[in-house]
C-alpha cells in the first residue's frame, strides 16, 4: 500500500521539482533558441508519459493489491490495445524527432556570410586564429608546431601570413554576426563548449571539425572543455567576449599577425 502512495509522490515530487527548483539552463546568448524549444517539447511529451505510466501503476497497485479471495484476470493478449498503444507511441516519437531533425539541418548548414574563426586546443589551453585582410586562413599541420609556431601554421602559405594569432588568450567576437568555428587540436580530444551558446563540438587531432552560431548578447562567457583530455581537463577554461562592432575592431587592431609574430621571434632568437 505504501508503494502506491510513494509512486504518486514520485510523480508529484518530480513535477514540482521541475517547475519550482532554481536549477534550470543558463540564459541563452546565441541564435540556438530552436534547440531550447525542442528541449521544451521533449520535456512536455516525456513528462506526460512519465506521469501517466507511473500514476497508472500506482492505481493498479492500489486497486488490484492482493486481498483474500482475489483472483487475477486471465488475458494473454489484446491485439487491438497493443496496436493502439504502438501507434500512439510512434506519433509521440515522431513529434519529437521531426522538429529535432529540422533544427539539426539548420545546425549543420553554415550560412554563407559566416566569418571563420579557428580554435586550437591543446593540453590545457585554448588558442585562436582569425583570417587577416584576405579573409582566408592559411593551411596548418601539427607537424609544423614548434615553440615559435605554436599553432602549426604553414609558413610557406601566403594566405597564412596575415592571419591573426591569439595564443592562450581571450577570444572576442562581434555580436549579431554568424561565425563558423573551425576546431582543431594538436594533442588529444578536446571539446569547445560555451553553455550560453548551446553548441559544442569535439576537436580531433588530425581533423578539422566545425559548428556555427550567431552570438546575440554582448558579454563575457566562459569556455569549458567538454571532452576528457587528461588530468587538467576541468582547468581548461577560456573566455569568449562578445563585443559591439567598435569594441571588436578595437580589440582586433591590437592583435598580432602570424608574420609579425614570426618576425619578432626571429629577432628575439638573433639577439
Amino acid at each position: 500500500m505504501a508503494i502506491a502512495l510513494v509512486l504518486v509522490l514520485v510523480v508529484v515530487g518530480s513535477v514540482l521539482f521541475h517547475f519550482l527548483s532554481p536549477w534550470w539552463w543558463t540564459p541563452i546568448a546565441s541564435n540556438w533558441d530552436y534547440i531550447d524549444n525542442t528541449i521544451i517539447i521533449t520535456f512536455w511529451i516525456t513528462g506526460v508519459v512519465f506521469a501517466a505510466v507511473v500514476l497508472f501503476m500506482a492505481y493498479c497497485v492500489f486497486r488490484f493489491r492482493h486481498r483474500e479471495g482475489n483472483q487475477a484476470a486471465y488475458e494473454p493478449e489484446n491485439k487491438r490495445l497493443e496496436w493502439w498503444l504502438t501507434i500512439v507511441t510512434a506519433i509521440g516519437v515522431t513529434a519529437m524527432l521531426v522538429p529535432g531533425l529540422f533544427v539539426w539541418n539548420q545546425f549543420v548548414s553554415v550560412p554563407s556570410d559566416a566569418t571563420v574563426v579557428e580554435v586550437v586546443g591543446q593540453q590545457w589551453q585554448w588558442s585562436f586564429r582569425l583570417p587577416g585582410k584576405d579573409g582566408k586562413l592559411g593551411t596548418s599541420d601539427t607537424r609544423n608546431v614548434s615553440p615559435e609556431n605554436p599553432l602549426g601554421v604553414n609558413a610557406s602559405d601566403a594566405n597564412g601570413q596575415d592571419d591573426v594569432v591569439v595564443e592562450a588568450a581571450d577570444l572576442h567576437l562581434p555580436v549579431g554576426k554568424p561565425v563558423k568555428m573551425l576546431l582543431r587540436s594538436i594533442d588529444v580530444l578536446h571539446d569547445f563548449y560555451v553553455p550560453e551558446f548551446r553548441a559544442k563540438m569535439d576537436m580531433i587531432p588530425g581533423s578539422v571539425t566545425y559548428f556555427w552560431f550567431t552570438p546575440t548578447k554582448t558579454g563575457t562567457f566562459q569556455v569549458l572543455c567538454a571532452e576528457l583530455c587528461g588530468q587538467g581537463h576541468p582547468l581548461m577554461n577560456g573566455v569568449v567576449m562578445v563585443d559591439t562592432q567598435e569594441n571588436y575592431l578595437a580589440w582586433l587592431g591590437e592583435q598580432q599577425t602570424f608574420a609579425q609574430l614570426s618576425a619578432s621571434q626571429q629577432v628575439g632568437s638573433a639577439e
Partner: protein, 589 residues
C-alpha cells in the same frame, strides 16, 4: 490467438540424455566445478566482490564532488582513476558478468529443462578466465602509476599519453589486457548459453514457451557475441599503439611541446569500434533485466505476462536495432554531421518496441492479484526508474537536443538511471526471488524492506536532480566544479545533498550483503516453490537442485510459462510440467 497443443500430448524426446561429469573430490565439486549452478555462484560472488570496489570508488567520487577541496587525498589523478575504474567495473565486470555469467548459468539449464550447460568444461574455463581478468584489473590499483584514468570509454589519444594517469605507466596496459581476457572468457560462456538454449531444451519446451528471462539472457548473449569482438580488436590495436608504437588511433601529435613518433591514425575510428560494442552493451545489460522483470511481475501479480509474443519480438527487435544506433554516442564527436539524421531516426525508432515492453508490464499489473513482496517492489521500482531513464534517452537520442546536453551531468544522470539503477533494481528483485531456490531459505523480509526503500528512493533522489545540474551546462568528468561559472551556489548545495544520498544508498547495500550471509543459516525454510511459480526451476525434486537438476527423468513441458490464475483451475498457477487440459489455458501459439 487460439488454443494450441492438446495439453496431454507428449512430444517425442528430441534431446538425448546427456552424460554428466561427476566430480570425484571436494576440489572438483566446489572449486573447479563444471556444474553450471556452482559456476553461477562463483561468477556472482566474484562480480559482487569487484562491484563493492566500484561502490567504494563511487563514494570517493561523491566526496570530492559534494565537498570539493575538503579531501586532499583525492587529487585530479586519483579522481580520474576512480571514475574510470568505477565505470568499467560496473558495466563490464559487474553487470555483464552477473546477468550472463551469474543468472545465465543458474537459470538457463533449469528453466529450459536441461541437466547442465552443453559444454560444462568450457563453462568452467569461462569462469576462471573471468576471475583472471578481474584480478588483472584489480592489480592495476597496485601497479606503478596506478590504474588508468582515461575514462571508461578509454578514448585515444589521451588514454595512452602522459597527461592521463596510467597512460604511460601500467594502468592502461592492465586495463586492455583485462578486457581482452574478459572477452575470451565471456565468449566461452556465451557460446554455451546460446547452444544450450537452442539445443538442450527439454521435451515440449518450444521457443515460444520459454520464460522471458531465458529470452532476455539468450538475446543478450547473442548480441554480446557479435558486439564484444569490436571491443576486442579495439583493445588489441590500442595495445599495439601503446606498446609497439603503431598508429592505428594516433595521428601526428605534439605533446607538451614535443612531436610524438605517431602519425596518420584516426582517434575517431576507436570511437566507432568502441560504441559498436558499447551501445549493444547497454542492451546486453538491459535485455536480461527486461526478461527477468517480466517473470517477477507475472509471478507476483499472479497473472500471465501481457502480450507474450509481442514481448519476445520486442526483445529480438531491440536487440537487432541496437546494432544500428551506436553513433548516437558520437553526435558531437566530429564525425560527418549527416550521420546525425540517420542515427537520430534509428535511435528514436528503438523507443517504440521499448515502450511496448513498458506498456505490457503495467498492463500485466492491471486486473492482477498483486502480492507486494520484496521482488515485486523491486520490479515496480525498476519500471519507474527505467521509464524515467528511457525518456531522458529521447532527449539525448534526438541529435540536436544532444548538442547542449552531451558531455554534461545530464548524460551521467541519464545512463545511471537507465542502465545503472534500473538493471540493478532488477538484480536485487531477482536475488530476493531466486535466493530460496539457491539456498533453500528465504531472505529476511524486514531487512529486505529496508534495503528496498532506501535503495529505490535514495537512488531516485541522487539521479533525478542530477539531470538539472546537467541542464545548467555543468560538464561531466570535472574533478573541480568550483571554477565553472554555470555552477551556482545552490547547485553546490544540491551536489552535497546528492553525495549524502549516495552514502545512504551505499549503507543499505551493506545491510543487503549482511542479509545474504545471515539468511543462509537463519532464513525461514523456503520449500521447493515458495512463490508458487510455474517455471521449471521451481519444480525440481530437490532444493537447492542437485547435480543434474531434475532427478532421474527430465521434465516434460505441456504449457507456456504463464499459466497463472487460469479460469477453472484449482490453484492460481499451473506449472509448465503439469499435463492435463483442466482450466482453460489460452497459451498463445
Amino acid at each position: 490467438m487460439v488454443d494450441v497443443t492438446p495439453a496431454d500430448a507428449v512430444p517425442p524426446a528430441e534431446v538425448a540424455e546427456m552424460e554428466l561429469y561427476h566430480p570425484h573430490s571436494w576440489w572438483t565439486k566446489y572449486v573447479f566445478s563444471q556444474d553450471a549452478k556452482v559456476i553461477a555462484i562463483q561468477y556472482s560472488a566474484t562480480a559482487t566482490a569487484i562491484g563493492l570496489v566500484a561502490l567504494v570508488l563511487s563514494w570517493l567520487m561523491r566526496l570530492q564532488l559534494g565537498f570539493p577541496g575538503t579531501f586532499d587525498f583525492i587529487s585530479p589523478e586519483a579522481y580520474y582513476q576512480f571514475i574510470t575504474m568505477h565505470g568499467m567495473i560496473m558495466v563490464i565486470y559487474l553487470l555483464t558478468a552477473l546477468f550472463l555469467g551469474g543468472f545465465g548459468n543458474y537459470l538457463i539449464p533449469l528453466m529450459v529443462g536441461a541437466r547442465d550447460m552443453v559444454f560444462p568444461y568450457v563453462n568452467m574455463l569461462s569462469y576462471w578466465i573471468y576471475l583472471l581478468a578481474v584480478l588483472v584489473l584489480a592489480s592495476s590499483f597496485f601497479a606503478p602509476g596506478g590504474p588508468t584514468g582515461a575514462g571508461w570509454t578509454l578514448y585515444p589519444p589521451q588514454a595512452i599519453m602522459t597527461g592521463t594517469p596510467g597512460g604511460q605507466d601500467w594502468g592502461i596496459i592492465l586495463m586492455l589486457v583485462s578486457l581482452i581476457l574478459f572477452i575470451i572468457g565471456f565468449t566461452m560462456g556465451g557460446l554455451n548459453y546460446v547452444v544450450t538454449v537452442l539445443q538442450a531444451r527439454t521435451r515440449g519446451m518450444t521457443l515460444m514457451r520459454l520464460p522471458l528471462t531465458v529470452w532476455g539472457i539468450f538475446t543478450a548473449t547473442v548480441m554480446a557475441l557479435l558486439a564484444f569482438p569490436a571491443l576486442f580488436v579495439a583493445c588489441v590495436m590500442m595495445l599495439f599503439d601503446r606498446s609497439l608504437g603503431t598508429s592505428f588511433f594516433m595521428p601526428a601529435i605534439v605533446e607538451m611541446g614535443e612531436q610524438l613518433q605517431h602519425g596518420g591514425g584516426s582517434p575517431i575510428l576507436f570511437q566507432h569500434l568502441f560504441w559498436f560494442f558499447g551501445h549493444p552493451e547497454v542492451y546486453i545489460v538491459a535485455l536480461p533485466a527486461f526478461g527477468i522483470v517480466s517473470d517477477l511481475i507475472s509471478t507476483h501479480a499472479r497473472k500471465n505476462i501481457f502480450g507474450y509474443r509481442m514481448m519476445v519480438w520486442a526483445i529480438v527487435g531491440i536487440g537487432a536495432l541496437s546494432f544500428v544506433v551506436w553513433a548516437h554516442h558520437m553526435y558531437v564527436s566530429g564525425m560527418h554531421p549527416y550521420f546525425g539524421f540517420f542515427f537520430a531516426t534509428t535511435t528514436l525508432i528503438i523507443a517504440v518496441p521499448t515502450a511496448i515492453k513498458v506498456y505490457n508490464w503495467v498492463l500485466t499489473l492491471w486486473r492482477g492479484d498483486i502480492h507486494l513482496t520484496v521482488p515485486m517492489l523491486f520490479a515496480l521500482a525498476f519500471i519507474v526508474t527505467f521509464v524515467n531513464g528511457g525518456l531522458t534517452g529521447l532527449f539525448l537520442g534526438n541529435v540536436v537536443v544532444d548538442v547542449p546536453l552531451s558531455d554534461t551531468m545530464f548524460v551521467v544522470a541519464h545512463f545511471h538511471m537507465v542502465m545503472g539503477v534500473a538493471p540493478i533494481l532488477v538484480i536485487f528483485g531477482a536475488i530476493y526471488h531466486w535466493y530460496p531456490k539457491v539456498t533453500g531459505r528465504m531472505l529476511n523480509e524486514a531487512m529486505g524492506q529496508f534495503h528496498f526503500w532506501v535503495t529505490f528512493l535514495g537512488a531516485y533522489l541522487i539521479f533525478f536532480p542530477m539531470h538539472y545540474i546537467g541542464l545548467m551546462g555543468v560538464p561531466r568528468r570535472y574533478h573541480e566544479l568550483t571554477n565553472t561559472t554555470v555552477m551556482t551556489e545552490s547547485a553546490h548545495d544540491l551536489n552535497a545533498f546528492i553525495s549524502i544520498m549516495a552514502f545512504l544508498v551505499g549503507f543499505a547495500q551493506v545491510v543487503f550483503l549482511f542479509n545474504l550471509i545471515w539468511s543462509i543459516r537463519h532464513g525461514r525454510e523456503a520449500g521447493g516453490n515458495p512463490w508458487r511459480a510455474t517455471t521449471l526451476e521451481w519444480q525440481t525434486p530437490e532444493t537447492p537442485p542437485a547435480h543434474g537438476n531434475f532427478g532421474k527423468e527430465l521434465p516434460i513441458v505441456y504449457r507456456w510459462a504463464y499459466d497463472y490464475s487460469v479460469p477453472g483451475a484449482k490453484e492460481d498457477f499451473i506449472p509448465q510440467n503439469v499435463p492435463g487440459s483442466f482450466g482453460s489455458s489460452r497459451e498463445p501459439a
